[in-house]
Symmetry: C2
Subunit: 497 residues, 2 copies
């Protein structure tokens, strides 16, 4: 375990996928990353994938809210009080650690949210746990709020926080959207963007960073109508991979059966469990590497009535990509109280209610890692990312065989046409054609075009180019004028290579 | 002046384009906005437009860096010392104001960067300027740093700042990209994303916010080769609209002449002035509403040797969308010194140099406002946004004439096919068809499809739909199976309606 993880990190650093932020500065904080020319597009395309498959197909409203939110919001949301980790410091070297994570890794103990700090200290003492760094004795356990404060205004007296999760903006804009966007329950509001947390021990590369992207869906519904899901029949027979509380094996249970056997609170939960799992299948993550793990009662976040963690098996073990949380009316009630504004939904008969919320809060960076790891392939002659073309940082490489003799000009012309037609193309004329193929293979580019002497010469190959497919490495000759339509069809899967 | 501005704000609030963040909380800070379901996509598509037209066509490397950067970075960049505004407070009501802006609006005085605070105080006294709010007397003038601090780590002792401009990440990752990405000078590194400033008086809606998006290009070049621009001939005869220092009229000068007459430092400046102006023309901003205003020597930012502000004429007067700054080696030299690392470029003969930098630092939110204002059209019967289809929040509205009789099912099927083919489609079955057209017109949706009884009935119109074009309101009958290809061609401008 860890070997493939190391390979992915190496690839990321060497091929402009991602790297530590401010890395030229010796004391740059950890847990912050810059996505490079080949990583930023993958991350963006994962969000696009989610936007198409979940947001648009479910007719959700997608917003993009401010990242700085006032203190009142987090008072009402409960984050000021509850968004805390137990931490402990080493009396000798002064390092800080998550006390719960120490107990988890050293004593296989699970510490639930809200466990008193004294109890945690007792457990640390009982298991004789010392500083993992210098073996020094540990001090007291205290509660540490992970939110990052920011002070606004000329007197710096407007206390704000960077959002620790994307969802609060959704609850805050709910009422305006309900009133102006002609919605009908159930409906979703979605948002993708950064969240910020002062993680004590950022670790595992991008799996736990201090600045990260989330793509969140909050589905608002009438609690009396939790089973009112118009298109439930479309997923009824679809098998969801679940690891239930107290079970030690993954079961494949249809969405219909999850509801019938009352293993979930209602149809809306099973429906979105199915849709999200389908999305990852479509993305190219193998089915047998997925599970929805039902959280124990003491594992759930403070706002959740029912929670399932969607996990993917990786070289680092099972990794959580997102929870599905049934948040009830926790959020809207809290903000109604905090703001003094009425936040409500309305039935067709005019009666009002406080909508309940089902949440899918997906980690973008973690999804990116999973996609990289599961598409990484090694062959004798080459390594490549066997990636869904919709996620590839470059869709089409345009390569003149040589720079000279007008080959580069012709290639450049094709490149511009492809850009104008909306493709993510990449132009490169430097180095041997084999090396250029290899570099594009390594970042998962699905198609490459080569402009050679036959393209320019008289004969039946005039105005044609070689089109190469990444995974099969097969090549065929294609007229230049057919390229936009052909590539569009290949990329959308309408046509096979 | 201001009437159209008010209409745009109203449209933005009522049609889910954008609205004040945390608006349900009475004391939410100003200058923070949430983009709604019809605004978030426009903003995203403006960035996509830039990505296609500037980043990809100029073969730039696009990154997406962390928003939190350590203090050392801003020590080296000069922001800790220089990123300051002169502020003054009212002795009576306690309000704070930008002292330079007060002198600008009340006394038509221009205060240059670095003017001592005592001089500014003298000028305020001399012009007898009082509090614009309560008419109270003004106190001392002081310097106020606009950066927002954030403290990381378990002891909160790692001093960081939210980036006040997107460009620093570019300079910080320069060396890794230079070493790994096989670049040749001149080359650009680009980045789009949020920046954060503690503006004293956020104003004019999204024109000056505290959290805003920028799309930046930093072009790195060998200072000996400032005139080495491979494709300069493509813009040589293109006329750039400039308002030079000391002139009171806009002149149209070709990129070639700007260089020949030494009105710019070199070809690279004129080249990018041309490319950026072309981008806005292509976006749909009228040519006669644009100018590059050359900044006076005392108006330039502290790091700039030459600066032109690209301004667009709006209902609020001429508004700056971005500066083109010639930053010389200011940034790389500063970070080399600050980090102790060698940051350099290399010529083909192996000799090293410190690259110079030309910057285009474009405001995304301001561009969005300009696009909205310049596409807003009023007719007797309707208002609409006559917007470039590439910027429209929805590309295709899919509307069943009625929900019943299988019309909705058919429309839903078409909608899903369009989503699968990569289009930004929107499905709506509620209300009269006229009202649904009107709502889509108002958000600039370029094409709408109606599924009616003829779509389902036997006859020559079976399996066809009505396709309506927004601006002309013309309609025609189109077979369902031709839709993806036809719409793709219409949206890309390959075919006319």
């Amino acid at each position: 375990m860890g070997e493939k993880f190391e390979k992915i990190i190496k690839l990321a650093l060497q091929r402009g996928i991602l790297f530590p932020s401010s890395e030229i500065y010796a004391n740059a904080p950890s847990g912050l990353f810059d996505y490079g020319p080949n990583g930023a597009p993958i991350r963006r395309k994962i969000v696009d994938f989610w936007r198409k498959e979940l947001v648009q197909k479910e007719n959700m409203l997608e917003i993009d809210g401010a990242k700085i939110l006032p203190k009142d919001v987090f008072e009402a949301s409960g984050h000021l009080k509850n968004f805390v980790d137990p931490i402990v410091y080493c009396k000798k070297c002064g390092s800080h650690f998550r006390a719960d994570k120490l107990l988890e890794s050293k004593a296989e103990m699970h510490i639930s949210e809200g466990t008193p700090v004294e109890k945690i200290k007792e457990a640390l003492d009982e298991h004789k746990i010392v500083c993992p760094g210098c073996k020094g004795p540990l001090g007291e356990v205290s509660r540490f709020n992970m939110m990052l404060g920011v002070k606004l205004g000329p007197k710096m007296d407007s206390e704000c926080f960077l959002r620790p999760e994307a969802c609060q903006s959704i609850f805050l804009s709910y009422m305006r959207l309900f009133k102006t966007m002609r919605v009908k329950f159930p409906f979703g509001i979605a948002q993708a963007g950064e969240a910020f947390r002062n993680e004590i021990s950022p670790r595992n590369f991008i799996m736990r960073g201090r600045e990260f992207q989330q793509m969140e869906c909050e589905i608002f519904f009438d609690p009396k109508e939790i089973d009112n899901v118009e298109r439930f029949s479309e997923v009824e027979k679809y098998k969801i991979r679940v690891l239930r509380q107290g079970k030690d094996k993954i079961e494949e249970i249809t969405a219909g059966d999850l509801v019938k056997k009352k293993l979930v609170s209602g149809k809306i939960v099973a429906y979105y469990m199915a849709r999200a799992q389908q999305m990852y299948e479509k993305m190219g993550v193998p089915r047998n590497a997925m599970q929805y793990r039902q959280l124990d009662d003491d594992e759930r976040a403070f706002y959740a009535k029912e929670s399932w963690d969607f996990e993917v098996n990786t070289d680092l073990g099972w990794q959580e990509l997102f929870p599905i949380n049934y948040r009830t009316d926790y959020d809207l009630s809290g903000h109604a109280k905090g703001s003094g504004k009425e936040l409500y939904g309305q039935r067709e008969d005019g009666s009002k209610f406080i909508p309940h919320v089902l949440e899918l809060s997906i980690g973008v960076d973690r999804s990116l890692y999973v996609v990289l790891e599961h598409s990484y392939k090694e062959e004798k002659e080459r390594n490549y990312l066997d990636m869904n073309p919709r996620l590839a940082p470059v869709e089409i490489g345009v390569l003149p065989l040589m720079k000279k003799d007008g080959l580069a000009d012709k290639a450049r012309e094709i490149y511009e046409t492809l850009i104008d037609n909306g493709f993510d193309a990449y132009y490169d004329h430097a180095g041997s054609i084999g090396k250029r193929y290899a570099r594009l293979d390594e970042i998962g580019c699905p198609f490459m075009i080569t402009v050679d002497y036959e393209t320019l010469e008289k004969g039946d190959k005039k105005d044609t180019v070689t089109l190469r497919e990444r995974t099969s490495t097969k090549q065929k000759r294609v007229p230049i004028k057919d390229l936009p339509e052909l590539l569009w069809k290949l990329l959308k899967g309408i046509e096979k290579f």
